[in-house]
């Protein structure tokens, strides 16, 4: 990041190539809109370039970029609906279908569907653990919450997925 702050575009491009797809996935899942996700991705990396000198090296550069992406995405969500918050998506509360007799692949698809229908807050923490394979410290840095909140949120998210499935997970 130090080299980026001194204007090294090649290092910046390398960082973009290494992290952009994961950041884009994260934004797309959060915003549920590919076009907006790409706009926010562009803004995220522009901000990263401009503010590279503020990076203090207390986390990985990718974690820092995820944090920027998250803040911009939350601003976007607030713009869409002034009272809407990542913490609260009541339109996603309808129950899902029972899964007892489903085949494994169908079941997997149902879980993925449930992951779309849970709140953004729950989907986000599960994405960070299981897709981005981050540890609790990294997630706490991105979400800007205490470590214990991350741990609790994962289990609340699991409960929410279960509720969406309308049955117990295996």
């Amino acid at each position: 990041m130090e080299r980026i702050s001194s204007g090294d575009r090649r290092v910046f491009e390398t960082l973009y190539q290494e992290t952009s797809q994961r950041v884009f996935f994260y934004l797309n899942r959060l915003l549920q809109d590919r076009s907006t996700a790409e706009d926010i991705l562009v803004e995220t990396f522009t901000q990263a370039w401009k503010n590279a000198h503020r990076f203090q090296g207390q986390s990985k550069a990718s974690t820092w970029i995820f944090g920027i992406a998250r803040n911009l995405a939350l601003n976007e969500l607030r713009k869409r609906k002034p009272v809407e918050d990542i913490e609260d998506h009541p339109e996603l509360e309808e129950p899902g279908d029972p899964l007892q007799d489903m085949e494994a692949e169908d079941r997997k698809a149902a879980v993925r569907d449930a992951l779309i229908r849970v709140s953004a807050k729950h989907r986000e923490v599960l994405d960070l653990v299981f897709f981005h394979e981050m540890n609790y410290q990294e997630i706490a840095a991105i979400l800007d919450v205490p470590l214990n909140t991350v741990k609790t949120r994962v289990f609340h998210a699991k409960k929410a997925v279960k509720k969406k499935l309308g049955s117990t997970l295996r």
Binding site: R9, S20, F24, L41, V42, T46, V111, R112, V129, N135
Partner: protein
């Protein structure tokens, strides 16, 4: 729920994503035999983990235009210029850090003192200064002449005369055409002066004191 069970439950997500340190992995695997609740959580979170398996392959990538847009924004941004001062301020802050460090500051003082001592005691006793162009004669002992050449004299004729008399131009011409010449050798200044005076292209030649 007891604290031990809570602790193991928290380990499960990291166990599944491969971020749990080895000693904790072993402890959790042993605890799974003791707690049915842990087995249930592992199965449920494992199923969620499984749903993510194919996502990476299916994950949409940003368009190729995205990076071009970023570069455009960087170029257009007035803040872009701020990166240079940032680099400079980074250098300044490093220098500041160097001087704030007592050890580095004392080392610098010691080095400066050594340089001063070498300069003071290493100087020659006589204050002699030499020209860069002619090391043969010390400046304060140089033999110089004032000379005015004929207006029709060519550069080639002047050059030939100067070489023959073994003198060189050190100053001039002044607005009135006066040159200051200097003998390259201190051995025969009178001969040089005589040669200058006897040359048809020299209107004036005299010793300069």
């Amino acid at each position: 729920m007891n604290d031990e069970l809570r602790m193991y439950k928290d380990m499960i997500p990291l166990y599944l994503n491969g971020r749990l340190p080895a000693p904790d992995r072993e402890a959790l695997e042993q605890a799974l035999d003791r707690y049915e609740e842990l087995q249930r959580d592992l199965a449920e979170l494992g199923e969620i983990r499984g749903a993510y398996e194919c996502m990476e392959e299916e994950a949409p990538a940003p368009s190729h235009a995205a990076f071009a847009r970023i570069l455009d924004q960087i170029r257009e941004s007035p803040d872009r210029k701020a990166t240079r001062p940032r680099a400079e301020s980074s250098l300044l802050s490093r220098l500041r850090t160097l001087f704030v460090s007592p050890r580095a500051a004392w080392a610098l003082c010691a080095a400066q003192a050594i340089v001063l001592i070498v300069l003071i005691f290493g100087m020659p006793s006589e204050n002699r200064f030499y020209t860069l162009t002619d090391s043969a004669i010390p400046t304060d002992e140089a033999i110089r002449f004032n000379a005015i050449f004929d207006e029709d004299a060519t550069e080639r004729e002047i050059r030939s005369l100067l070489n023959e008399a073994d003198v060189t131009i050190v100053e001039g011409p002044s607005p009135s055409g006066l040159y200051v010449l200097e003998a390259r050798s201190a051995e025969a200044p009178e001969r040089a002066l005589e040669m200058l005076r006897s040359s048809p292209i020299v209107r004036l030649a005299e010793r300069r004191y």
